[in-house]
Symmetry: C2
Subunit: 319 residues, 2 copies
Amino acid sequence: MKIIFLGSGGSVPTKDRGLPAVLIEYLNELFLFDCGEGTLRQIMICSSKRNGKNKGKNEKINFMNINKIFITHFHADHIAGLIGIMNTMNFLERRSNMEIYGGKGISNLIKNLPVPKDAMQFIKIYEISEGQVVEGKGYKIIPFKTQHISESFGFVFEEKEKRKFLKEKAIALGIPEGKLYSKLQNGESINLDGKIIGPEDVLSESIKGRKIVYTGDTMPCENTIKFADDCDILIHDSTYSNIDIDKISDHGHTTALQAAEIAKKANAKSLFLIHISQRYANSKILEDEARKVFENSCVVEDFMSVQISAPPENKISVN
Amino acid sequence: MKIIFLGSGGSVPTKDRGLPAVLIEYLNELFLFDCGEGTLRQIMICSSKRNGKNKGKNEKINFMNINKIFITHFHADHIAGLIGIMNTMNFLERRSNMEIYGGKGISNLIKNLPVPKDAMQFIKIYEISEGQVVEGKGYKIIPFKTQHISESFGFVFEEKEKRKFLKEKAIALGIPEGKLYSKLQNGESINLDGKIIGPEDVLSESIKGRKIVYTGDTMPCENTIKFADDCDILIHDSTYSNIDIDKISDHGHTTALQAAEIAKKANAKSLFLIHISQRYANSKILEDEARKVFENSCVVEDFMSVQISAPPENKISVN
């Protein structure tokens, strides 16, 4: 499970920060959260080799493999990149569905963008509400309400619980390796010489999956604490430093310090600060501020990638 | 008079090429031609210092000084950047008018973009037709029809003719330096001790101004030759190499070789090839191809700037 940050800035892009776009790679599927202007080009740069004029990271992202896009809210810095992505997928004659999820009105919004009608054959649009789970192979994605100046959602990306196959138990029970193993792994019982063996005889207890939470734009809110409960990675709005706290209330954002307090209360394992205002050319001030409250804090940079190893280790490594 | 190329790619952005956007700086005014996705960020990078992660060019472009944007046609790779620019101008509380010019339908197009209604207070939209001149201090901009798969325009940016003040003639006529000089320069006659002296007595013959022509997306067409007549700089669609000529007819574009033929026929002084397809990672092939027909050809790179010195020298320097 890997997160690739494609854009870490807020509202206005800077030389070094693109607009919000967070990619999650899981079992060869790509999930995009928010899609600020320039997201497609950020993918092109990130996928390219590290050398050359615009240094890439050689991440080998094929944007045609993005199957689901989740939009936190409709401000332009979170959606304008959809135009390029949809047009280019259409230009390259995509046939398989690409799903876009967002709050009430997403359908009208997408249909009014300057995109050829043909693209609407592969684009499927879904209106979401809190707790309405989007489920797929091995994962579920849960939208939750956040608190911004317009309706806004955060998203939980959660790996489903898994039970490990305990080969030593199967051997002890005399089960021959092969098809019977697969049946048990898939939750079926087997008949071994008249003896019924169930999955519970050879599978471990349930192991909690990995959990990533992305807030989008929000003020500090109780709902984030609730939904980010025990997560591995909390990616939180951190538009401002707490020294500029007077600017927050108007705009519906969070300071680095406040984000750290949320991470602590949610018992998150790590905090990644995103949606950095253009005013912080040196973002170390934000990291330092957060670390005073929550040690495992990190300011997101464009093209930063974060891996979480399989449970129960859930080891986080940043690249 | 300076041109700054903000985006030189076509249709799909690449690691090294943004989408079409050509900035002309003239007498402290900024004119933008096309506005592909990512244009605002390209301005941010271009304006920043040469050092750092994304090397800028220190061009000191203040995008808030863009007063006029000209759109060649409505394909997304030429317009999607308007969203970010309009939103950010609104976010920064712009008050002075920003004019957008484009073909029939531009008004609806702009009004359907996800931009706050407030922005429409400073945005003024104008539908153009061929030959309908947009005039301002020292310049005129002339739209002309080109040949693409949808309605499309090219634009002539032309400096008005000027007459130089010939100080030696004024001295010979005994005119005292000061207010009377200004009157004559402004085209008024003066009365010097009963003798009427007209501007024609102290001004040179008209000197032709500098002329830049930008085609936008187009197939080779006679109209470009006509409007680009004797221009200093022809910025021409050069999406493909002539070795891929079979791909052209479908898409309404031009090869480097064809663009060179147009430049030659139009008696242009120089040719800049733009809208380079993503397939040409090494664009030297296009430059070589064009130079066989028209020596003074150059493939545009992002952030390249081109200056034309004052007439009658009209010296072109590329940086």
